[in-house]
């Protein structure tokens, strides 16, 4: 019988916390549920944790959970107000958008600033439906972590998927195996394009149709077509 009562206590506590959270989330607006700024993401994580502990642990007064959630709500409102009135504050708290692809190609420095590499960028591009680096005119990582893309006007949709061969001077050996060729392939490519050292290649991608995207350190990217060894496909 005592166990039944205990379960009822948890049940009612869950209802109270749930109603409180619904009210708070509604007051915070739709952005809290959709695209989140860093501090909003933290707040969402905090609220979940703060609500769960007193909900399940009956030795903690429920008021602790409610007060904590309200405290987080005040913080959220105050931060939102400060962000709206002070650009510098917004930049400090949320960061600023990063242009990672421009007319010259991929901005590797900007990627590194955001603790990302070329493969992360290619992955993000794929999620926006862009499989080739040259099909994008501009790519911007917004402060909420989403990638915004401006497609290149003269981009043609290729049926082949480009694969990253060299990233910041490092050969992606697993990807190279797909080509069924050795390092000689890259050496030949370097000779043809007048590249002295492998580490000068920032990005080299190749698709099944032989389309190459090459970006050398300090230079604009270029694209060209090569003939692939027989039987290569992916």
């Amino acid at each position: 019988m005592a166990q039944n009562k205990f379960m009822l206590v948890i049940f009612f506590r869950a209802i109270i916390i749930f109603v409180t959270l619904i009210v708070i989330m509604r007051l915070m607006g739709k952005r809290q549920i959709g695209e989140m700024q860093p501090f909003e993401f933290i707040i969402t994580l905090l609220i979940a944790e703060l609500a769960c502990v007193p909900m399940t642990d009956v030795s903690i007064p429920l008021i602790y959970g409610i007060v904590s959630v309200f405290a987080v709500f005040i913080l959220h409102q105050a931060l939102t107000l400060l962000e709206q009135s002070c650009t510098l504050f917004r930049r400090i708290v949320d960061g600023k958008p990063s242009v990672v692809i421009n007319k010259c190609g991929v901005d590797v420095k900007e990627l590194k600033k955001n603790n990302m590499d070329v493969s992360d960028l290619i992955e993000s591009l794929r999620s926006t439906g862009n499989f080739s680096l040259d099909s994008v005119h501009y790519a911007i990582y917004e402060s909420n972590g989403k990638l915004s893309v401006l497609k290149s006007e003269n981009s043609t949709t290729s049926e082949q998927m480009p694969i990253l061969i060299v990233s910041c001077g490092r050969v992606q050996k697993n990807n190279l195996k797909l080509l069924d060729v050795g390092n000689d392939f890259i050496t030949d490519l370097m000779k043809t394009n007048g590249i002295a050292r492998l580490k000068d290649i920032q990005i080299l991608t190749l698709d099944g149709g032989g389309n190459v995207y090459l970006q050398v350190k300090g230079q604009n990217y270029k694209t060209f077509k090569i003939t692939l060894p027989n039987g290569v496909s992916w």
Binding site: L27, V58, I60, P61, I63, V67, A71, I74, Q77, A78
Partner: protein, 125 residues
């Protein structure tokens, strides 16, 4: 913007009001109990205390703890419950020294619990 400012002010005011009520209520509740514990301690020292004296302290505590459950962790309340119960039994069997020791613990807890929840640096970290 106005809505945000109003909500900050209203929620902050509610929390501060709640904290003030909580502070006053905790202080008054534990002060009442401390007065009673002191009276019983005197009787226990003089070995004139009877079971009913401690039972009246227990009754007072039971009345107070109903509302205290809202403000303080239930484990702290349970601790006082146990010490008072032991005090009742020791008094019943006229073990005054042991009962006095239990009373001292109850008094200490009544003094310490409100301090634990006061806004002080050591409590914040």
């Amino acid at each position: 913007m106005v809505k945000s400012i109003i909500s900050i002010i209203v929620v902050s005011a509610l929390i501060f009001l709640g904290a003030t009520v909580e502070n006053i209520y905790l202080k008054n509740s534990f002060d009442d109990l401390i007065i009673m514990v002191d009276e019983i301690s005197d009787k226990l020292e003089n070995q004139t205390a009877v079971e009913d004296d401690v039972l009246s302290m227990q009754k007072l505590w039971i009345d107070k703890k109903q509302k205290l459950h809202v403000f303080i962790p239930h484990t702290e309340i349970k601790e006082i419950d146990l010490w008072i119960s032991e005090c009742v039994t020791y008094t019943k069997y006229k073990k005054y020294e042991d009962a006095l020791a239990k009373c001292e613990v109850v008094k200490e807890l009544c003094e310490q619990i409100p301090k634990t929840f006061s806004v002080k640096l050591q409590n914040l970290f």
